[in-house]
Amino acid sequence: MQRLSVCLFLALSLLIVPFTTAPAAAKTITVGIVDCYSGPPSTYTNDVRDAFKMEIDRINAAGGVLGRKIEFVTRDSKFKVDIGLAAAKELIYRKNVDIMMGTINSALALAISDMCRKEKVPFLVTFAKSAKITGAKGHDYVFSITENTALAGKAGAVGLAKKPYLKYWIAGDDYEYGHAIADAVWNNLKKLKPGVTLLGQSWWKVGEPDFTPYITAILSARPDAVIVATGGRDCVPFLKAAKATGFTKRVPFYMHTATELSTLKPLGLNAPEGVIGTSNYFFYYPRTPENEAFVKRFEAAYKRKPAVGAIYGLLAARFISRAYQKAGKVKPKAFIKAMEGMTVDSPVGKVTMRACDHQAMLPMFMGTTKKAPGYDFLIADDIVTIAGKDVMPDCAEIARQRKK
């Protein structure tokens, strides 16, 4: 008798399980996010997640997409490829997420991208800067809604070509990002202005504790301008050393992320003025009603100003919801088709997802650091907007890279 009841119980549970879980899962669209939420990179990634949540909450409050609510789950990669990849696996195989999103780590982004290609799950890259993601290693299932080293490098070169400098020095982080961005700026600059010469280069290790000897050595070579290819948290101590040595007063320099809020805020009013930088977003620029409304909502929700990550989070939420709406169903192929060429509104204007490489055509803002009344940190001034289409490699170039 007991054995029978056990058998019955097992048989029943086998029947019940699929019926209880399947309908519940069908009522939502699940987004799996893997990103680094511990350590210094979290300064950047928290804004992506928070702005994404804010927009998703709004969409859900208005009834969701196709009658479904959008849900998301986050996993901390701890900036490690193996941990992040294991988390992505868990989200794809066990949580059965409809779509993947993340990460700030380029190596991890490329690894998840490869997994998503095999598993046929769309993947939105929100911060990683490797140009390979939508370039040489791009495919149908991966999308990038952030600038990358190729775009930033081109934007930097376009801006620098307008200045009178001829003798350059390159200095940067001795790893993928540093070399990629330095090469991109320099190669584009040589094309735009053939008269430029390179006096020399300095490369330091990531996390270099003291930049003073590097700066004094660069100054002794007397270049007209310096291209500084340092990223992430190293920007802060570099700017500090630049201020201490009077670098900007002697030689102007370009550093891609120098004008970003995440870089300038920790330095307060002690950041050097006159540093040229590029970014996808400033909370104070462009001064449009859309941007002002977005900043107000973000500040009300999180008691801080949105940094560049916030625009990526917002765009991710908008692209995901609009694409499913347009597709009319929650199917990867239909989602991809809907995403290609799609345009969404944002605080930085209309942003289009280019069909040929799945790269969002984001404008780039080039500005110079300056003290401004009302702020207890430096902001970017003399901002020049460089349109996304002007800095993106053309579709033929992308096709050539992918063929290699």
């Binding site: 504790p209 002794s220 040595t245």
Partner: protein, 297 residues
């Protein structure tokens, strides 16, 4: 590669910049060397104490609104906080383990790098912090046509002061003499009725105080962040090894070699500057495998 020719002024300036980095390296590695020489403990958690010193400096200086006075107070308080932490560590745990083999002690102190790392994360969070140098040592002045940071000059003054203090401590005080004797023959010192345990506690606390002081001095020049413990501990151990294990003056010599090859390497061959100090370490160890000065071990 043409860098427009390296002038004597540029070289001199680079030497001075290198020496200011030497100061931090010397302060941290002399503390490590002291503990290594007297207590025979390879204290891997030394770097963590340096990190705690930097974080406490940040907190104390920020409490006073990052003013000059606030920085001076922080410079005095932070190493003392680190010393207090190390006293608890020594009296509570380490003092029971002196008889264990070195590998055990190494693992034990390594465990504390993890504990301290998480402790810092719990107290200060995972974001990096940035502290400004006090107004009087901010900016730079002109030195033979090149800018020289005032803070580097401040470090150049601090270095000899700390070295002098250490010399007085080890040569002119009773505790220093006992410590030196204990380093050579622990049993003999014990046998003549001196409580070695207390001397060890004092030496450990002084060594850790130096780690805290190094952290406090470095705070305005770089990011105060998780991971700064790993960078410094590797460099400090290399310096201690090339200087001669447990020899404080060896640490000074090692720090100078490390700091100067780094700075001069950056000037003469900037693409490959990273390898210079490590090449120097390899050369020293090839010529003198036991370090430049007499190792106490």
């Amino acid at each position: 590669m043409d860098s427009g020719g390296i002038t004597v002024a540029a070289l001199m300036q680079q030497v001075l910049v290198g020496l200011s980095r030497t100061t931090i390296l010397f302060i941290v590695s002399s503390g490590l060397s002291l503990v290594l020489g007297v207590l025979r403990i390879p204290n891997v958690a030394h770097g963590s104490l340096y990190m705690i010193g930097a974080f406490v400096t940040y907190s104390v200086a920020s409490f006073f609104g990052q003013t000059t006075a606030g920085f001076i107070i922080a410079l005095a308080v932070a190493p003392l906080v680190v010393a207090a932490v190390s006293l608890v560590l020594e009296r509570g745990l380490l003092c029971h383990l002196y008889d264990r083999e070195h590998l055990m002690l190494l693992l034990f102190t390594f465990a504390f790098t993890l504990v301290f790392g998480d402790l810092v994360k719990m107290i200060w969070g995972s974001d990096y912090r940035s502290l400004s140098a006090p107004a009087i040592v901010q900016g730079s002045f002109d030195l033979g046509g090149f800018p020289f940071p005032r803070y580097s000059l401040f470090l150049l003054v601090m270095g000899p002061l700390v070295a002098l203090g250490l010399w007085l401590l080890t040569n002119k005080t009773k505790i220093g003499k006992i410590a030196r004797a204990a380093a050579v023959d622990r049993e003999m010192v014990d046998a003549i009725g001196i409580d070695v345990s207390k001397v060890f506690a004092a030496v450990f606390v002084i060594g850790c105080y130096l780690a805290g002081l190094g952290g406090a001095l470095v705070a305005p020049t770089q990011n105060i962040t998780q991971g700064m413990d790993h960078t410094i501990i590797i460099e400090a151990f290399l310096i201690v090894i090339i200087g001669g294990l447990g020899n404080i003056w060896g640490a000074l010599l090692g720090a100078a070699i490390f700091g100067l090859t780094d700075a001069i390497g950056i000037l003469i061959w900037p693409q490959f500057a990273i390898v210079f100090p490590y090449t120097a370490v390899v050369i020293v160890l090839l010529i003198r495998p036991r370090g430049l000065l007499k190792a106490i071990w």
